[in-house]
C-alpha cells in the first residue's frame, strides 16, 4: 500500500522462524495416550515488514488461521519456533507479560457478530480493553474511534445485534485499533460479509493503515481480496509456505505449481485473455495434516511431479528472484517451460465457458 516506508530501524516488524503448531491426537478415556499429531503449521518462516501488508492465502485446511493464532498465541500451543515482534520473542512470553504484549498486536476476526459480546454496549466493548491496558479513556475516546471507522457517534450506546454485518466488523476494527497496535492480524476479515460491503471494509483497513501506520497480516482464501490489499503475499499449503513474493510479482508470474493452480482458477475480466487462459485443475482434496505426504507436501496433487526428489525430499524456500521465494525443486524448469504438466487431462483450456 505504501511501499516507501523505510528508515534506519529494523524494517521487519514481525519475524517468524521455524514455527510449528502440532496438535496431539489422543486416544483413551482414562489413560490418554498420544497416537499422532495434526501438523497444522509445520515449519513456517515469515517476515512482515513495517507499515506493509502481508497477505496469507491458502485453501481451507492449509493452516493459515492456525498460523495467525499461533503468532498471537491465541489458544494455540506453539510446538517449536520463534515469533519475534519488534525484536522481542513472543513465543517465550507467559502470563502477564504476554497479556501486556497483546496491545501491540491485535486481531480482526472473521465473524464480527460472534466476536462481539452480545451483552456489551459499543462504548463498553471499545473501552474495556483500553482500560485493561491502562490507556487513557475520556469522554471523546469512543466518539473519536467510532468516527475513525466510519460509524456515527450515536452508535456508542447501542448493542452489537443492532448493527449490520459490515458495521459490526467496523466495531471489531475500532476495538482493535483503540489499543494503538502496530500489527493487526486480520483473519478472513471480509469473508463473512456481503460482497458489496467487502470493498468498504477493505478500503477502511487501507485508510487506517495510511493514517495510523499499521502493519497488516491479512489471512484470506480469496485471491482477489489478498491482491487488493497486499504488498507481499505468502501462499500456504498443508502447514507450510510454498511461495512468497511481492503481490504484483506473484500474481504476474507465479512459480510454484500450487500457486499456478490457484491463480489459474481466478477468472480474468478480459474475455479474450479469459478464453486463452489455461486452467490447472487439482485432483482431490488437501491431504490430512495428521499424515502429510513425504517429501514435497504437494507432490500428491502436483501436475508437474517428477520421478526424482518430489516424493522423498522436502523442498525449502529458496530465493529464485529478488524477493521471490519458492519451495519447489523444479521451479526454474517449470518457469522456463522445460517441464510440462504430466497429464494432459489435468489441463483444461477454457473454451468459451457455458454460462
Amino acid at each position: 500500500m505504501n511501499p516507501e516506508v523505510s528508515g534506519g530501524r529494523d524494517e521487519v516488524l514481525l519475524r517468524v522462524r521455524g514455527l510449528k503448531v502440532h496438535f496431539p491426537i489422543t486416544r483413551g478415556i482414562v489413560l490418554q495416550r498420544t497416537v499422532g499429531h495434526v501438523q497444522a503449521v509445520d515449519g513456517v518462516d515469515l517476515d512482515v515488514r513495517r507499515g506493509q501488508t502481508m497477505g496469507l492465502v491458502g485453501e481451507s485446511g492449509s493452516g493459515k488461521s492456525t498460523l495467525g493464532r499461533g503468532i498471537l498465541r491465541l489458544g494455540v500451543p506453539l510446538t517449536a519456533g520463534t515469533v519475534e515482534y519488534d525484536g522481542v520473542d513472543i513465543a517465550s512470553l507467559r502470563g502477564e507479560q504476554l497479556r501486556r504484549q497483546r496491545s501491540a498486536m491485535q486481531m480482526v476476526f472473521q465473524d464480527p457478530m460472534a466476536s462481539l459480546n452480545p451483552r456489551q454496549s459499543v462504548e463498553n466493548l471499545i473501552t474495556e480493553p483500553m482500560r485493561a491496558h491502562g490507556k487513557p479513556v475520556d469522554t471523546t475516546t469512543v466518539a473519536r474511534l467510532l468516527e475513525l471507522v466510519g460509524l456515527p457517534r450515536s452508535a456508542a450506546l447501542r448493542y452489537p445485534h443492532e448493527f449490520s454485518g459490515g458495521q459490526r466488523q467496523r466495531l471489531g476494527i475500532a476495538r482493535a485499533i483503540g489499543l494503538e497496535p502496530a500489527l493487526v492480524i486480520a483473519d478472513e476479515p471480509v469473508s463473512a460479509l456481503d460482497v458489496s460491503v467487502q470493498a468498504q471494509v477493505l478500503n477502511l483497513l487501507e485508510e487506517l493503515q495510511q493514517r495510523l501506520g499499521l502493519t497488516y497480516l491479512v489471512i484470506a482464501h480469496d485471491l482477489a481480496v489478498v491482491r487488493h490489499v497486499s504488498d507481499d503475499v505468502a501462499v500456504m499449503y498443508l502447514g507450510g509456505i510454498v511461495e512468497q513474493a511481492g503481490s504484483d510479482d506473484l500474481y504476474r508470474s507465479p512459480l510454484h505449481p500450487y500457486t499456478r493452480a490457484l491463480m489459474s482458477a481466478v477468472p480474468v475480466p478480459d474475455p479474450e485473455v479469459e478464453d486463452r487462459r489455461q486452467r490447472i485443475l487439482l485432483r482431490g482434496d488437501i491431504p490430512s495434516p495428521a499424515a502429510p505426504p513425504t517429501g514435497c507436501r504437494f507432490h500428491t496433487r502436483c501436475p508437474y511431479r517428477q520421478q526424482t526428489r518430489c516424493d522423498d525430499e522436502r523442498p525449502v524456500l529458496r530465493e529464485l528472484r529478488p524477493g521471490h521465494r519458492v519451495a519447489c525443486h523444479f521451479a526454474e524448469e517449470i518457469d522456463s517451460g522445460a517441464i510440462q504438466p504430466a497429464e494432459a487431462a489435468q489441463m483444461v483450456g477454457t473454451a468459451p465457458a457455458s454460462p
Binding site: R102, P129, A132, E147, V225
Partner: protein
Amino acid sequence: MTAQLPTLPTGPAAGPGDGATVVGESLLRGAWHRLRRSPLAVAGAVIVLLFVLVALAAPLLAPYEPASTQWAGDVTPQSVPGPSADHVLGLDSFGSDMLTQLLYGARQSLIVGVVSTLLGLSVGAALGISAGGLGGKVDTAVMRLVDILLSIPSLLLAVSVAAVMGQSQLSVMIAIGVAQVPIFARLLRGSMLSQSRSDYVLAAGALGIRRRRIVLGHVLPNSLGPTIVQATLSLATAIIEVAALSFLGLGDSDPAVAEWGRMLVAAQERFGNDPRLAVYPGVCIAITALGFTLFGEALREALDPRQRR
C-alpha cells in the same frame, strides 16, 4: 469476483434505525419486552404475584388466628364441618379454619421454597463457576462430586438430609437445597464451557483482558440465562418437595405451623368422607407450582437468543 475490487467510498455509515433513539436495546431489555407480550408469562406472573402477596399478607387476609383449635369440638371422627358463613372453606381435621390454614400455608411454602432454592442456587453456582471458570483438575473434582450427588434421586437425598438433621424447618430447607445443588452446578458449568469456546471470549483474550475479568465479566453473564430459568422452575419443585417431605413426616415438627403438605397428610384418613380436605391444599400446591413453571418456561423463551432479530 474479479481481481480488481470496486472502490467504494468509506463514508460514515448510517446508524441502524437512523437517529431517533440513541440508546440501544440490551438483551435483558429485549427479553423483558418479549416477556410482557407472552400471555403464558403474564398468567404465570399473575399467579406468582398473587401467591407472594397472599404469603406476605396472610396475617391481614386470614379471618382467624392460625392453628387455633377452638372449633375442635365440632369435628367428629366421621365428619368435619363444611363451608359455612363463619368458615368459608369449612374446618380442617384439627378443627381450625381451612382458609386461615391455607393462607398461612402459602407463607410457609414461599419461605421454604425461596430459601431452599437460593441455597441450592448459591452453592450450585459457586461450584459451577469454579468448575467452568477454572477448568482442569478443579473441574474434574467438582464434577465428580456433583455426579455422586446426582446419582442419588433428589427426593431420596432430601429425605436422607432431613432424616439426619432432624425435623425442623431449617433441615427441610437444607434438604431441598442440597438436592438442587448438582442441577445448578452442572447447568452453569455446561453453559460456561460452551460460552468459553465462543469467538468473543477468544477476542477478549486477544485484546489482553485479564482472565478473571473474562470469566466473571463475559462468560458468566452470558451463561446465566438457563440458570435463572432453572431457579424459577426449581421454586415450583421446591414447593412440591416441601409438601412431599411433610407428607412423609419429615417436615417442621411444630404442628402449629400450617403447611400444605401436612394438611394433605391429615386429610388422608378422612379422604373417603371429606375429600375437600385434600383437594384444597392439593389445588393450592398445583396452582402455585403451575404459576412458577409457566413463568419459568416463558422466561426461558424470552431469554433464548434465537428469539432475537
